[in-house]
């Protein structure tokens, strides 16, 4: 069909965490420019299943850019060539007919490959868990706006809370650092009065967990911010640094 794409795909295939992986090359034809990147992989997998081959394993869930599952490193960039999108929001019109597309999983020692393009991102869950609880009153929900919060702080906290934990920051970082993720999770609570009570211990515990999981340090290249599908700012990393060092010097 006219306007449709014929593409060469170089996809990372790896049976499991124990075996070494390698690239396999596939040809796909008649790909509609209106398809999402994941739908293009669906087309390929359909064919592989019909031919009795093992389909390409990849993470996906909502397919509308809010779950953060579709981790694919496409042509040297997390979630492909467009800014502010996840792989499911990347459409095939962003590619040219006859193009060769290289698809790799997130590469980080803290994100071991489970199969093909699927990586284990449970390290992120453990960083969040290390943050612990916040102290709030139980019982009936209190009135809305009972607790006055500065509008700018509320906006910044909301912007930090937009993080979907996809791991593109780690994938993009030359050090596989999780600073943008961790700083967003610290910031969303540090900016609000509800988060103040445990602020110091939270910053220390989450940074300690982040280091233990084997993520790298920050070189301030800004690659994470540029590749984040939710536009999380590296101002959050500076805030994490402030939170962490003030906790270092003031905590008992």
């Amino acid at each position: 069909m006219e306007g449709n794409l014929n593409l060469t795909l170089k996809i990372w295939r790896q049976k499991n965490a124990q075996t070494a992986g390698k690239f396999e090359t596939y040809q796909v034809s008649g790909i509609s420019t209106d398809m999402s990147f994941l739908e293009m992989i669906d087309v390929l997998n359909n064919r592989l299943i019909q031919e009795g081959d093992d389909p390409v394993a990849f993470d996906h869930d909502c397919r509308e850019g809010i779950c953060g599952m579709c981790s694919m490193y496409i042509n040297g960039r997390p979630h492909g060539p467009n800014r502010g999108v996840t792989t499911c929001q990347l459409h095939m019109r962003s590619f040219k007919d006859g193009e060769t597309i290289t698809v790799e999983p997130w590469r980080a020692s803290a994100f071991p490959v489970i199969k093909d393009l699927v990586v284990n991102r449970s390290a992120f869950d453990r960083i969040i868990a290390a943050g612990g609880f916040i102290s709030v009153n139980t019982g009936n929900a209190q009135d809305a706006n009972n607790l006055p919060i500065n509008k700018d702080d509320a906006d910044d906290a909301f912007a930090a809370a937009a993080c979907i934990g996809c791991g593109a920051c780690v994938a993009a970082c030359k050090n596989a650092s999780a600073m943008l993720f961790t700083s967003a999770k610290i910031s969303q609570l540090a900016l609000l009065p509800q988060g103040q009570i445990e602020a110091a211990t939270r910053a220390q515990a989450m940074v300690a967990q982040m280091d233990e999981e084997g993520f790298g340090a920050c070189s301030n290249t800004g690659a994470c911010e540029a590749e984040c599908p939710k536009g999380i700012s590296i101002e959050n990393i500076a805030r994490m640094n402030r939170e962490y060092f003030s906790a270092t010097f003031s905590s008992k």
Binding site: S109, M179, V207, A217
Partner: protein, 222 residues
């Protein structure tokens, strides 16, 4: 003090150390560059030699010299430690990386630029620090200014110095604003100014330093 060691050995702490030592070295460069720029007064190096004499004999300055070397070594040691740590974090490399799409090449090459700077520094210290501090060759008749004239008569040396200054310029271009970010100083009101000062500082310092060997080689100063 175990709490301090623990904090400084964390990924954030290593960067804090990098930022503090980096800003210290940045402040030293202002003094070094300012003093050396007196060669452009065209007084045959009289002012420069006076300044060099003061820097070489004042006890307070000599003590700061030790602090300076300590700061430099700490910066190198911490950089090496970060580089070794960070490269372990991605055991399987990407086949394709489009780094320029999301960051500046010099921000990703601070270790390389730092290594080039270290190699340059060894040559530079041998030329002038070794001459003025560890030999008895520095006399009224053979001043540091005379030594600069001799050293910068070689086109190879001039080329090495210019390359060293280019490495320095790019290292500072990222390092200056990066240090403030590591210290947690990122604020919509001040950060644009800090970044602007960082660019001006990097260009002025590296260009001024680079102009010195060039000026000597082409006899532009007297």
């Amino acid at each position: 003090m175990a709490w301090l060691a623990k904090s400084l050995n964390s990924s954030l702490g290593k960067k804090l150390l990098m930022a503090i030592t980096g800003l210290f070295l940045i402040s030293f460069l202002i003094v070094h560059c300012g003093l050396n720029a007196t060669i452009f007064l065209n007084d045959g190096g009289a002012t420069f030699n006076q300044g060099a004499e003061f820097m070489g004999t004042n006890p307070l300055i000599r003590m700061m010299e030790i602090v300076l070397f300590a700061g430099l070594l700490l910066h190198i040691f911490d950089g090496l430690r970060l580089w070794l740590d960070n490269k372990k974090k991605r055991p399987v490399a990407y086949a394709v990386v489009d780094g320029s799409a999301n960051s500046k090449w010099y921000s990703r090459s601070m270790g390389l630029l730092g290594t080039l700077l270290l190699l340059f520094l060894i040559i530079h210290l041998k030329h002038f620090w070794y001459f003025s501090r560890l030999t008895n060759d520095l006399t009224e008749a053979h001043t540091l200014y005379n030594e600069m004239q001799i050293v910068f008569a070689s086109p190879v040396v001039v080329a090495i110095y210019v390359l060293g200054c280019i490495s320095l310029g790019y290292h500072l271009l990222h390092g200056f604003q990066s240090a403030f970010q590591s210290l947690g100083l990122n604020h919509p009101k001040y950060s644009p100014t800090i970044k602007w000062i960082g660019v001006v500082y990097s260009v002025v310092i590296s260009a001024t330093f680079a102009s010195m060997p060039i000026a000597f080689y082409f006899h532009l100063i007297h």
